[in-house]
Symmetry: C2
């Protein structure tokens, strides 16, 4: 491939993770150090920043300060949830993007996100090719949901899994402190894939895990759920349940949105999330003391429990994207391959065509869910465990997190 | 004072904290090493374990394993919420306690808990004195709520404050990721005292704190609250709010229990906690996207964010209780004095008569709450900051917490 000189843009998109900024730093640091890349711009709020001509000149940042970026949760450049039209149907946005790319001589575009972002990335790549504008477009994966197709796992998942597993272990201790009965229901993110809810089960290996785990990969039955809870509760006086927010009945309707007679005899929509709804039903059915806990945003921004493995791999994904693009690759997403080196987990990198990953979802294999559909298998645990390892050396001030402070100087 | 030889009992009571086991370890380790103390028993589920003759012989535990106790959250011996009658009115329980004390020759009793536990402690102390049974009774403070009277602060508070402040800082980052409007409401424990909700404001010093903080020390006005939120939201497009679960109207009724027309036109009780109720009201009043987050049990069992200062002081409280009792003290609670040594924070220990601390609540001084009643002052932050310092060297296995595994051998 020929050498391509020009500027690059890095954009972040979709929901935040604890380590998405490590990927951004992987791109930015590598690009700043590469002689083929003449300028490094961060798009404010993803593709919207390109459309709005709002780009930050990353060369204006202090290098030492920039090095704190990986340890700052959420998307520091700003994110968006902006679904692009098909360029064949409506090319308005694409024309504008091309205009901006030409204005800044952008020849490298890196997009850091999940499923929808890979779709955006793919469309931009196609459009630039059809417009005859040479620009290398690379997807850098991220999602706590771990549902990107074609990659062994996604940056962001390991840290969220570690946060969830640790928190559930701690709640286990709390929920067992009294000698009175108690049912605890913990709601975990994951609308369509149960990777995060399943990770709650890690603590089972260490004697402090949930009794029951429900994933969205199988249909949920309220009757079976209540049977399960009653069985555990009657035997032990306690029951700790982890549920994915995405559990649904056989007809596909989400349990979180269902109006059951047990929740409200008047059929009114209920406030509160799934944990509250289930807690209320269990309370009425069993008379037990029940507590619903929603891990909420905490699980996706909990950088204080980031896994070093995840953080390092997130950086690697960004770095690999730049190196591949400079070497001539385009229209690809960086993906991870699980390898074994001397019997130990090792993360290899490969490149996948964007059209093969965009818009597909990777779910938990059914054989990793137990026969009762209320737990995960040892294979699942073995899959997750290497991803949650290690403590990054987090910068702190007064024992509080020290987040990066970017100048965010607009490009001229 | 004369030397007193005999066994000791340590009991834990009330809600768990991240470091209550460090206090238990302070008692147990010091007592095991003291030649005047002939046996060390842990009461299963606090005073209930004494009444039920269910005592664990702590000498049967492996010393190395026992040393993991401080790093395990919640009350490892088990807790209870058991309110004792006044011995003058009904001495049934006290007679039983005396019987057990005589059976095991218990001459030292250490009770590790909050307000109610100090009350229990005080009553037992009085009863033993009136019965002419020599037993030295000491209270070891704990509570995340920090509302114990007479002590500068309480073991457990610093770790919960650190958990809350860190989590709020991370949520701040998450809540500011999109360029669309967003109001986030975080509900924090503290029914009558706002120490924990106020601690959410620590992040303000580091550029990632809440815009508004509401404590239960002042009356809550829904109108003023909505005005505050709208002002911040209209100016910045975001608003991050921290509220104590105990906020109440001028008539004393809790906002969490009020049925306002804004929450449900039909007057039905609402599911979900205060954060959900407020989120719903703000959503209806402003049309903004609003998210309610309840920190729930996580904030009191989050030992992975325990403050080393808090952990060390919790141990110190237990140790000081044993040393004081062996020296002849009884009917006292260990309390902390804030001292300055070479201009640095230092925690001194003193003993307070139990009757002076039991049943009083220490609230946040009104002069530490801002004039608008929607934030705390710098004095408040300066008070909290030394208590959240340092990372304990937590034991881990596979990057997951390694909790203590006690044998819990029943005393013979």
């Amino acid at each position: 491939m020929s050498t391509l000189k020009g500027a690059c843009i890095i954009g972040q998109s979709g929901g935040p993770t604890a380590v998405i900024n490590a990927s951004a730093y992987g791109v930015i640091r590598t690009a700043l150090d590469d002689e083929n890349i003449t300028a490094v711009y961060g798009a404010a709020h993803g593709i919207k920043g390109v459309l709005d001509d709002k780009l930050y000149d990353m060369s204006k940042e202090d290098a030492q300060e920039l090095a704190l970026l990986p340890y700052t949760p959420s998307s520091e450049l700003g994110s968006c949830r902006y679904k692009m039209a098909d360029p064949e149907k409506d090319d308005t946005d694409y024309k504008r993007i091309l205009e901006i790319f030409k204005k800044y001589n952008v020849r490298y575009f890196f997009y850091n996100g999940g499923n929808d972002s890979m779709d955006t990335c793919n469309k931009i790549s196609r459009y630039m090719a059809s417009a005859g504008y040479e620009c290398r477009v690379m997807g850098v994966p991220k999602t706590i949901d771990n549902d990107l197709f074609g990659t062994d796992h996604c940056p962001g998942f390991g840290s969220a899994a570690r946060y969830i597993a640790t928190s559930v272990m701690e709640v286990y201790k709390d929920a067992h402190v009294y000698d009175t009965g108690m049912v605890t229901i913990i709601e975990i993110m994951g609308r369509h894939a149960g990777w995060l809810a399943g990770s709650a089960a890690l603590g089972c290996r260490y004697g402090a895990g949930p009794d029951l785990v429900y994933l969205p990969e199988t249909d949920f039955s309220m009757e079976k759920f209540l049977e399960d809870v009653k069985r555990v509760y009657n035997a032990t006086g306690k029951c700790l349940v982890a549920v994915s927010e995405g559990i649904h009945y056989a007809d596909g309707s989400f349990v979180s949105e269902a109006k059951t007679s047990a929740t409200d005899g008047f059929g009114h929509a209920q406030l509160g999330g799934l944990a509250t709804i289930l807690a209320d039903i269990v309370k009425k059915e069993t008379g037990a003391k029940v507590r619903g806990i929603e891990l909420n945003l905490l699980q996706r921004c909990g950088s204080h429990l980031a896994s070093k493995t995840d953080l390092d791999e997130a950086f690697l994904a960004g770095k690999a994207a730049v190196e591949a693009a400079v070497s001539g690759d385009t229209g690809k997403m960086v993906a991870f391959k699980r390898e074994s080196v001397d019997g130990k987990y090792h993360c290899g990198v490969e490149l996948l065509p964007l059209e093969k990953v965009a818009n597909f979802e990777k779910k938990v294999p059914l054989e990793w869910i137990n026969a009762e559909h209320n737990g995960v298998t040892e294979e699942f645990i073995e899959y997750v465990l290497p991803l949650v390892q290690g403590d990054p050396d987090r910068p702190m001030v007064d024992s509080m997190p020290r987040f990066v402070k970017l100048k965010k100087v607009l490009a001229e």
